[in-house]
Assembly symmetry: C2
Homo-oligomer: 357 residues x 2
């Protein structure tokens, strides 16, 4: 029961003060770097601290200052290169500002996300960066902001939440690639996303609760309608939550009598599986099916053919979110800022004209 050998080791300001022959308050002043202290005392305390191997107990400090020096980050899945890159952006910026990051994966599960926020609130983080799983289910986030905690939404906004938000111009990007595909003669264009619906089928854009993806699908559907293509909803496939599901969905789709001539993948992990399924089925990209993917994952340029992608400023998405948060930490009271970062279509060789029937 007594494995508190680490506790025994903890040297406190009182210890340092005693050794330096000053009061606790004075020692605390130099150790904490605040208040006014004479040089002589400062040196005495400093050396005493070094000798004793004193180390500030940030927990105790946080108790009194009310600031924990850490910010909470909740993402869908750190394993997804999109998020790992965004998190890199966050940690880089945030560390420069003197904060640490508590990272939690939500697995895109709303209950896990709620629990994560609760945990983070209990840990008294100074701020929150979240990529919300569902933008219509944000009461836990509202509760967080209501208690005065700075919150920045990453990659996915929410109309219900008037907070700092950093997203990419997903709709615009989707419109771009859809237009391109239609111009090439494609009429059967599928959109595959990890977002899921209760019955695993897509009905309307309102079914999609992930902001970024909803905007993309809206763009896709919008351009289709503009071009006189109707009922394109049936080409939207949801629930590609993992490689296995993705394979199943894509395989089914490609083997059905009505198969798409072009596919838009909502992220690079999906594009990868699409690629694999094609090879397995003996289908050629782009001869049989054209492929465009969101997220310019580093490997997309080395496949055969290299994949045409929507390049999102992923690192910057994270870095910007972090910047907004740090700014707000230094100066609350500004109005919520919504930053939309530009995307860019990188044309490679995975799309071509559809064969005219």
């Amino acid at each position: 029961m007594d494995k508190s050998s680490n506790k025994a080791n903890s040297v406190t300001v009182a210890d340092v003060a005693r050794k330096a022959g000053v009061s606790k308050a004075t020692a605390a002043r130099v150790l904490g770097g605040y208040g006014i202290v004479s040089d002589r005392v400062r040196e005495a305390v400093t050396t005493a601290a070094r000798l004793l191997e004193y180390r500030t107990n940030e927990l105790a400090r946080s108790m009194t200052t009310g600031r924990s020096g850490s910010i909470g980050v909740v993402v869908g899945d750190i394993e997804n290169p999109f998020f790992s890159l965004a998190v890199r952006g966050i940690t880089d910026i945030v560390r420069k500002a003197g904060f640490t990051v508590i990272l939690i994966n939500s697995g895109e599960d709303i209950d896990t996300e709620r629990a994560a926020v609760r945990t983070l609130l209990s840990k008294r983080v100074d701020g929150l960066i979240i990529s919300p799983a569902k933008d219509n289910d944000v009461e836990h986030l509202q509760e967080a902001t209501r208690s005065g905690l700075p919150l920045v939404l990453l990659d996915r906004g929410s109309e219900a939440l008037d907070v700092d938000t950093v997203i990419a111009d997903d709709r615009h990007a989707a419109e771009n690639v859809t237009r391109k595909l239609i111009r090439l003669g494609h009429r059967h264009i599928a959109y595959v996303t990890a977002c899921d619906t209760p019955d695993h089928r897509f009905h309307t854009v309102e079914d999609i609760n992930t902001g970024s993806v909803r905007r993309r699908i809206a763009g896709f559907l919008g351009v289709c309608a503009e071009a006189g293509l109707s009922g394109m909803e049936r080409w939207v496939r949801v629930g590609a939550v993992n490689p296995e599901q993705t394979r199943r969905i894509v395989t089914d789709m490609l083997q059905s009598p009505q198969r798409p001539t072009a596919i838009i993948a909502s992220d690079s992990m999906i594009a990868l599986e699409i690629f694999k399924v094609h090879r397995q089925l003996g289908l050629s990209i782009p001869d049989d099916v054209s492929l465009v993917s969101f997220h310019d994952a580093d490997w997309t340029s080395v496949t055969s053919p290299p994949i045409t992608v929507v390049r999102q400023p992923v690192y910057n998405l994270g870095a910007t979110a972090a910047k907004l948060l740090v700014e707000r930490l230094n100066d609350a009271g500004q109005t919520a800022r919504k930053v939309v970062l530009r995307t860019e279509v990188v044309e490679r060789a995975s799309i071509r004209e559809a064969e005219r029937p």
Copy 2:
């Protein structure tokens, strides 16, 4: 609306106690889930807490219990798919055990790593999982363990540190692929790693301070010597720390009069750049140069040709490290365990026989 919607939503046990009409100690018992309380009181306190939106201040709790409920994780670069997958393994396990993860990137820089450990110690993390940048420079780690903090080494061991360690059988893997290459007639085999040396050139295996990589190079060199190949040290290239450097190194190497007929890439990011450089230079894999890579990144199977790789149990590496840590948290005093996880060579199509001169 009411006063509780203040900036700091700090409802304390005292507040709850007052509202429930019990003492602070009693309220604390039910709120903290310890001690014995009557059902009537429990309910009173619970509802009072709900009404007041009480939320435990984990900081305060940590102060008295001495446990923070969070563990520190220091990796080279979360952007590297190897680490992001390992971190996923860590977070999954650790969360189940009720801990959160504070993540810090070292950028493989020893000073940053030191600072990270210092920060983590100040935050009073309950344990540490670290992928040390240099295994001969571990005083900061020693200091951590000396103060009784459980530490688990991830992917890279250190003889100087008698602590729980989880690594892959890198040497064995390197021996395997080297043997395979030699059997195919290769005599000029290059090994490219991100690890760097002061003069950016490789002299002896002792120059390499990253345990996993040193073991691999030792295996590589050992098998070469066994096969009668000497002076293979000149084929080891260090300092491929980022895509740009990697391109430079690989381009130089491939354009030199003595160019390798086979290359072993120390991670998937390096393999990717090697792939790109070959295409740019008009060289064919495997006709001109054979390629083997460590880390079975998901995309390595879809390139043309698909890449032969050493599959490491990356997720498991992280998950196992986390398990060891959690076990030790529950029961210190065991002796240090060294776990070596099996790797496997996945044969694909990026290597072939060397042309006999």
